[in-house]
Symmetry: C2
Subunit: 352 residues, 2 copies
Amino acid sequence: MDTIQSDGYQIFFEDSLTQLVNFIKEGKYSRSFVLTDENTAVHCLPLLQQYLAEADNFDIIEINAGEESKNLDFCIGVWKMLIDFGADRKALMINLGGGVVTDLGGFVASTYKRGIDFVQVPTTLLSQVDASVGGKTGVDLDSIKNIIGTFTQPKAVFMVADFFKTLPERQILSGLAEMLKHGLICDAAYWDKLKTSDLSLPAIELVHRSVEIKNEVVIEDPHEKGIRKALNFGHTVGHAVETYSMLNDSNPLTHGEAIAVGMVCEAWLSNKKVCLPDEQLAEIAEVFGKLYPKHSIADDCYPALFQLMQNDKKNQNGQINCTLLTSIGQYSIDNICTEQELCDSLRYYTTL
Amino acid sequence: MDTIQSDGYQIFFEDSLTQLVNFIKEGKYSRSFVLTDENTAVHCLPLLQQYLAEADNFDIIEINAGEESKNLDFCIGVWKMLIDFGADRKALMINLGGGVVTDLGGFVASTYKRGIDFVQVPTTLLSQVDASVGGKTGVDLDSIKNIIGTFTQPKAVFMVADFFKTLPERQILSGLAEMLKHGLICDAAYWDKLKTSDLSLPAIELVHRSVEIKNEVVIEDPHEKGIRKALNFGHTVGHAVETYSMLNDSNPLTHGEAIAVGMVCEAWLSNKKVCLPDEQLAEIAEVFGKLYPKHSIADDCYPALFQLMQNDKKNQNGQINCTLLTSIGQYSIDNICTEQELCDSLRYYTTL
């Protein structure tokens, strides 16, 4: 598999940890800091340490696992550890984890002493196909996802397929939702291939294709002014469902589970507003219905969900902006949706 | 006076508030937010409001005055207010204040929703000649100055000479130290002009020349890899003296007062290490001695001051790096100084 060239950095898929060691040696860094969470410290760090042992001095900084850690308190904790370790501007941060670690670690690095280099070693399927490309860093504030952050590219991304082989099924499904999205917005043939593949453990070639699609989109539009909005398909409704679930459910939805709900709702909106054919809507609903457990959304949650949609970073002038599909493999950006339409789309999902 | 073209933005010196109004109208912003502190809210905001009244809807966010506000708690407060006001990505932040407001406001804007536009309206002499150019944003953490921040350019800078006419003398002297530095590092004729001018209220033409010098330096080296280090003259010792004073003195030194001490010390180092002529060292010591009150530094502070110098962002590999002068108007970067040399330079200042 080819290395993918992104916006000023490379994404490695083969011999990635050897490549990481070479990268560190060539970079002449004063010191390396590996950011992990409790889980990756156990499941992924030992392998990384075997490789790093020959590369350089390094220190380990661990944060708690889970979205609840993705906040400014943890940033302050990591910044203070960097200060205590005497990290200078030639220090390197190696973010080893899922989206929380890569997003938070990227933000911490991009703002420590006005920016030190960082690389991403995404350990979940979701972070491999999503957080690894695009240069978005960030943390949550007041339960609003990624509201504080920067656009800063990593210096390299290293994909290690072995890391997600031990992931629980729900984590695989979470990443898979983004992969299915990549097919829906840009590549009908890839969508067809995913539909018929064994998705209990997606092949690294499929991951590679997803990264390729996302990379093409973000390279054309690094600051989300235009076509990058394609990637928001499913996310207007999906983010609201995800945040609502995080605030209210004892066992909250994963990102992918929420986005799967969002994609079905937004496929319905696509059918109503931009002529997605009926049979394609049915196909989308069927594929997600088979893969993902049904999530129940009571009518009386709609106002709260709508409120969350209004808080979305991507809105302007208080209007809610959706990316929709004109057909499978073709997106349409900047579709303004009303409260009524959005609630109807949730109703459609509920009645499936 | 000409408008100065900086790295992607303009710095206005004439009819600046009219220019600001035009800027806002042309930018089609969804809303404007004026960040002030207690002082600028009283002394500067009323004038700004007269102009803004015809431009747009705007809201005011006020923080406490003083360096103690330049921290992440205040950032969180401002971010939350932006969220509460429903600020979207097309919002504009107008930072009306001294360096604390422009640095903190720039950092908050550059990280809110991964970056909204901001403009600077610096109200002190120091922020006009220093913080207004260069794209440095940031806040302090654990008493370490500007340790968290970004390199982000404002969309424009508006200089209003009227604002600093009411500043206390110590604030004028604080800005003047940076102006004198600009002469020392790059322009001997400007240094000579400053020496012989009435400096109780520097003419706006002098401010313009200082901004021009700083602008030329930072445009060549936006990320402080090389020649921008010229601007660090006086700052290795000066920052340490400033931080130490802030932590220990009931009436701490201003930035400029501390940098004035630092410049005398580093002029002495320049004489010892890079052949700054004896008579130029004497001249520098005399000019600063006349303008600035003598600051007493006891011998037993030296270890703490040295510790602070080691924490400086600009160091690498634990070595202390100074920008020195080979003559007035000529700098020399990357001079490594030992603890002994740095302490001797403090001793020189003390014996003057």
